[in-house]
């Protein structure tokens, strides 16, 4: 799946563009023109939110898909970035917020959250495999309880409200259309960054570490360092997602990274598919649509509108039991069945 080495002559920009398949062009145009035919609610609540959720889930996908490490602390990293923005920037809690300008507090938020994510990684990679889930879940819980108890920095139970993006270039970024393009832009950049990373020396080495850590050691790679750096890389994406998330709801509270939210990120990534960077975005879109329309859907089936979590849980179970590769896995199975001569690579690959 990973092809780091150029197999053909150096591709010029035009040939690179020609290689992009037609459906991608269609989707790109649809996404760019979305504000022309979607209403504000769809733009802000469904697409804006999906892009954000997708980014945070993408950071999990990087760790799980390329690194083989399922970390449940990525939502926590995101929330920490949101908290730093609220604390260093402006919010409805002026006693705590420092009101620093955006060009200081946004980079600092990303930096601090990334450092935290790296530290989490450094602790989590001390053990292997299935332990990662336990440790990162425990860390996420500790963060949740800590922010809820600490009033000096995190303003405890109340958290911060009124955390809004700076009016850069005279644009009100929380207006639906600007916010749509802001999140679309960030999501696209993160997606491209991950696709790019997968084919860099680091990305290739990370996949080598996932498949065969012992051999990687015998080739001269510092396996642990690669794993930790994967956390660093993934945490940058989670941090940006977290800042956007806090801007979207204009608030950050302990429950932003409560245990249910932490689990939701895993649900989103698994339902979408952990094998490819597009998976988390598909999962996020499904999740956002379901949660926004859940009460209508449930009523249609004659159930109380409150049973959203039941639907999510059952859907998640169904995927884990019957299609562990998520929606992407279903799609590939479908394609494989349709193809006259099955492509041997589709079924194989990790």
């Amino acid at each position: 799946m990973a092809q780091a080495l150029p197999t053909t002559a150096p591709g010029r920009l035009t040939t690179a563009l020609e290689r992009i398949p037609a459906p991608v062009w269609v989707i790109a145009f649809l996404l760019l023109l979305m504000p022309a035919f979607a209403n504000n609610f769809v733009l802000y609540q469904i697409f804006g939110w999906s892009f954000i959720l997708g980014m945070i889930a993408l950071s999990l996908m990087v760790l799980a898909g390329y690194g083989g490490m399922v970390s449940l602390a990525q939502m926590t990293v995101a929330a920490l970035a949101g908290y730093v923005v609220a604390i260093l920037g402006t919010s409805g809690v002026p006693q705590i917020s420092l009101g620093w300008p955006w060009w200081i507090h946004i980079p600092l938020a990303i930096l601090i959250a990334t450092l935290f994510g790296t530290l989490v990684g450094a602790l989590a990679v001390r053990t292997e495999g299935i332990y990662t889930i336990m440790i990162t879940l425990a860390i996420a819980a500790a963060f949740f309880y800590f922010t809820r108890q600490n009033y000096v920095i995190f303003n405890g139970y109340t958290g911060f409200n009124n955390v809004i993006p700076p009016a850069l270039f005279g644009v009100e970024w929380r207006q639906p259309v600007p916010f749509y393009y802001l999140t679309l832009g960030c999501a696209t950049l993160s997606y491209l960054a991950v696709v790019w990373m997968a084919r860099t020396p680091f990305g290739l080495a990370l996949q080598g570490v996932r498949d065969n850590p012992r051999r990687m050691g015998a080739l001269g790679f510092h396996v642990t360092a690669h794993r930790i750096f994967a956390y660093t890389f993934a945490s940058v994406i989670a941090a940006v997602g977290g800042i956007l998330l806090v801007w979207q709801s204009a608030q950050v509270v302990p429950g932003t990274a409560g245990i249910p939210q932490v689990i939701d990120i895993l649900v989103v990534a698994v339902v979408g598919g952990l094998r490819r960077p597009i998976g988390p975005f598909i999962g996020a879109l499904i999740y956002a649509v379901l949660s926004v329309f859940s009460s209508d859907i449930l009523h249609a089936f004659g159930m109380s509108g409150e049973r959203f979590k039941l639907v999510i849980g059952l859907g998640f179970l169904a995927f884990v039991l019957f299609s562990p590769d998520g929606v992407l896995g279903l799609w590939e199975k479908y394609k494989a069945r349709r193809a006259a001569s099955p492509d041997p690579l589709l079924g194989g690959g990790r």
Binding site: A2, T200, P201, F202, A205, A218, L219, G220, F221, G348
Partner: protein, 272 residues
């Protein structure tokens, strides 16, 4: 069959190797009282041996004699229970595997340990990357990248150019064994451990392997585990016999071949 087209490509970075080598003197590899216990079982016990720089040594011994365990202890796949290991004079007993590799040690595995989901080119590229700078680089390599160049030379040296872009999991057994060797030759190896590289190969492939081994630059020493006496005698200048986790005999191939005890135990015993 074909002699190496460009023998100098393997371990091409000679100057680097010599730079490293010049720092130290004495033996390439020196083991003192190395013991490895698995629970109560002593897979190897009190192994002491030394190999000169550039020396080519064969290790013989029946199955379970502890040969692979010896390799694992030397390369740091796991730490020995006791004993010291010196590589070119430096005590590496407690080094992690990658630190040993970066000092010029290489190995192959008895059971191929490859990246089945990647192409041959990517496998060899990883091997070259592991012992060079830029392991954490987030820039994609250009086609003119020297690491890619070195990887391609290695692929050619082990005759895998035809399958350069094939997934490793779909290679034949012999090709996988050849790739296993390529991975051990990356960078500037100074000392290599080959774990039964010839096992299961066809006569042609075996001949190619012998060519590769004999074509290695003189400064590269190695230890090869080999059951086939004929192969061992052609690629090694000294022999160590192991039995039940201990070094049982050491000597030149002729001495070992003519040793009565050895003949009883090993050559005549029909093991192998």
């Amino acid at each position: 069959m074909v002699a190496l087209t460009r023998p100098a490509t393997i371990g091409a970075d000679r100057s680097a190797a010599e730079r490293l080598g010049s720092v130290t003197t004495g033996n390439a590899l020196e083991l003192r009282g190395v013991t490895k216990l698995f629970g109560a079982l002593a897979a190897i016990s009190d192994v002491t041996m030394s190999v000169r720089p550039g020396e080519r040594r064969a290790v013989l011994g029946s199955n379970g004699a502890g040969k692979t365990t010896l390799f694992n202890c030397v390369t740091g796949d796991f730490l020995p229970t006791s004993g010291t290991i010196r590589l070119f004079g430096e005590d590496i007993s407690n080094f992690p595997a990658h630190e040993r590799i970066r000092r010029g040690l290489r190995r192959t595995y008895q059971i191929s340990l490859l990246f089945g989901g990647m192409s041959v080119a990517d496998n060899v590229y990883l091997a070259c990357l592991g012992v060079s700078r830029g392991r954490f680089s987030l820039l994609r390599p250009r086609p003119s990248d020297p690491i890619i160049g070195r990887a391609d030379e290695l692929i050619e040296a082990v005759h895998l150019t035809r399958v350069r872009d094939t997934l490793v999991s779909s290679l034949s057994y012999g090709q996988q064994r050849q790739l296993e060797i390529a991975l051990a030759l990356a960078g500037a190896p100074r000392f290599i451990l080959f774990d039964e590289p010839a096992a299961g190969l066809s006569p042609t492939e075996r001949a190619e392997l012998i060519d590769i081994l004999t074509g290695l630059p003189d400064h590269i020493g190695y230890i090869i585990i080999e059951h086939d006496m004929d192969v061992a005698l052609r690629v090694a200048e000294s022999v160590t016999m192991m039995h039940n986790g201990r070094v049982f005999k050491e000597g030149t191939p002729e001495e070992i071949e003519n040793d009565e005890e050895v003949q009883q135990l090993y050559l005549g015993g029909g093991h192998g």
